[in-house]
C-alpha cells in the first residue's frame, strides 16, 4: 500500500467514519442505532462501509483481537535494510502471516513491523525465520509497559 492522497469525503462520510470506530453492539441489528443517529438507512451505512473497504479508506471492519489475552504476544521489530534490497525485503517480510503491520521509516533502522503470535515463543521463532529469509538481523523491541490512550481519528 503506497502513501495515498486523502480520500474525498462528504459530511456523512465524516460522521460515519467517526461512529464506525466505536464498538459495534452485539445485537440482531447492530447498525440500526448508528443509522438512525445519522438519519440514513442501515443499507446506506453498509453501502458506504463497503465503499470504504473497497477504496482502502477502512482497512478492516470487525473484531480487534487482543492476542495477549490468548497467551500470545505482540512485538515491535525493526531492520536496517539496504536501499537496493528494500522492495525485495518488504515483500519477503510481508509474506509472513505473523507480520501485522509494516512501515517504512526514515532512519538507519528503516523497516519497522509488528509481529503477532499466539504463543510467546512465536515472536522469537518468527524473528529467526525472517532473519533466515532475508539474511539481515531483526531487532526486537518488546513492550515492557503500555501507557494507554486510544486515539480516534477525526475524519
Amino acid at each position: 500500500m503506497r502513501e495515498r492522497a486523502p480520500a474525498t469525503l462528504d459530511d456523512l462520510d465524516r460522521r460515519l467514519l467517526w461512529a464506525l470506530q466505536d464498538d459495534l453492539p452485539l445485537c440482531e441489528l447492530p447498525f440500526a442505532d448508528l443509522a438512525e443517529r445519522l438519519g440514513v438507512s442501515e443499507e446506506d451505512v453498509l453501502q458506504r462501509l463497503r465503499r470504504y473497504l473497497a477504496e482502502g479508506i477502512v482497512t478492516r471492519f470487525g473484531p480487534f483481537f487482543q492476542v495477549e489475552r490468548l497467551g500470545g504476544a505482540f512485538c515491535l521489530a525493526a531492520m536496517a535494510v539496504p536501499e537496493e534490497r528494500f522492495e525485495e525485503v518488504a515483500a519477503l517480510v510481508g509474506a509472513f502471516p505473523q507480520v501485522a503491520h509494516n512501515y517504512r521509516r526514515e532512519h538507519a533502522l528503516n523497516m519497522w513491523f509488528v509481529l503477532a503470535a499466539t504463543r510467546p515463543e512465536g515472536i522469537a521463532e518468527t524473528a529467526r525465520a525472517i532473519e533466515d529469509a532475508v539474511s539481515l538481523p531483526v531487532w526486537l523491541f518488546p513492550k515492557e509497559r503500555e501507557y494507554f490512550m486510544r486515539l480516534r481519528l477525526r475524519p
Binding site: G62, F65, R104, T118, M149
Partner: protein
Amino acid sequence: MNGEVPFVPDERDRRLMLAVEGGLPLEVRPYHALAERLGWMPEEVFERLARLRSTGVIRRIAAAPNHYALGYVANGMSVWDVDDEYVDDIGRWLAEQGEVSHCYRRPRALPLWHYNLFAMFHARERVEVERAVASAAALLAARFPEAVRAHEVLFSSRILKKTGVRLHF
C-alpha cells in the same frame, strides 16, 4: 504485559474467531450472517462473541481506518532516551498528549538503539507532528530536568503492510 491468566478458546471459539478475522459480514444482520456461514444458531455466535469481549480477547468490533485516507498523512514515532527512574512518569505524561495514540516503554538495544520510550504522534502534516513533539520535549525538560537525554522522530513514509492481527491455531 499483565499477569492475567490467558483465556483458552475451545474449538468452537477458534472456528468463530477464524471466521471473523477477515472482517464481519457486511449485512444488516451481520451476526446472523456469521452464524449461517458457520452453520450455527445465532444465539451461539452472540454468546461466544460476548464472552470473548468480556474476557478481553476482543477489544472492540469496529472499523480500522486508514490514517492516510483520513488525511492523517503524518505519523511520527517519537522515541526518547529517558532516565529509567523517570520513564514511567514521562510515559504516562506523554500518553495524555492529544496527538499520541500509543505510548510504550521498551528495552534499549545498545549500542545501536538507546531509546527506551516510544510515543506515536499523528497529525495531518509533518510540521504539526514536529511542533507537537518539540512542545512535549520543552514541557518535559521543564518538568523533569535532565531526565530526557535525547529524542527524535521517525516518520513513516510508506505503509508496507497493514492487515491487523492474524490468528493462527
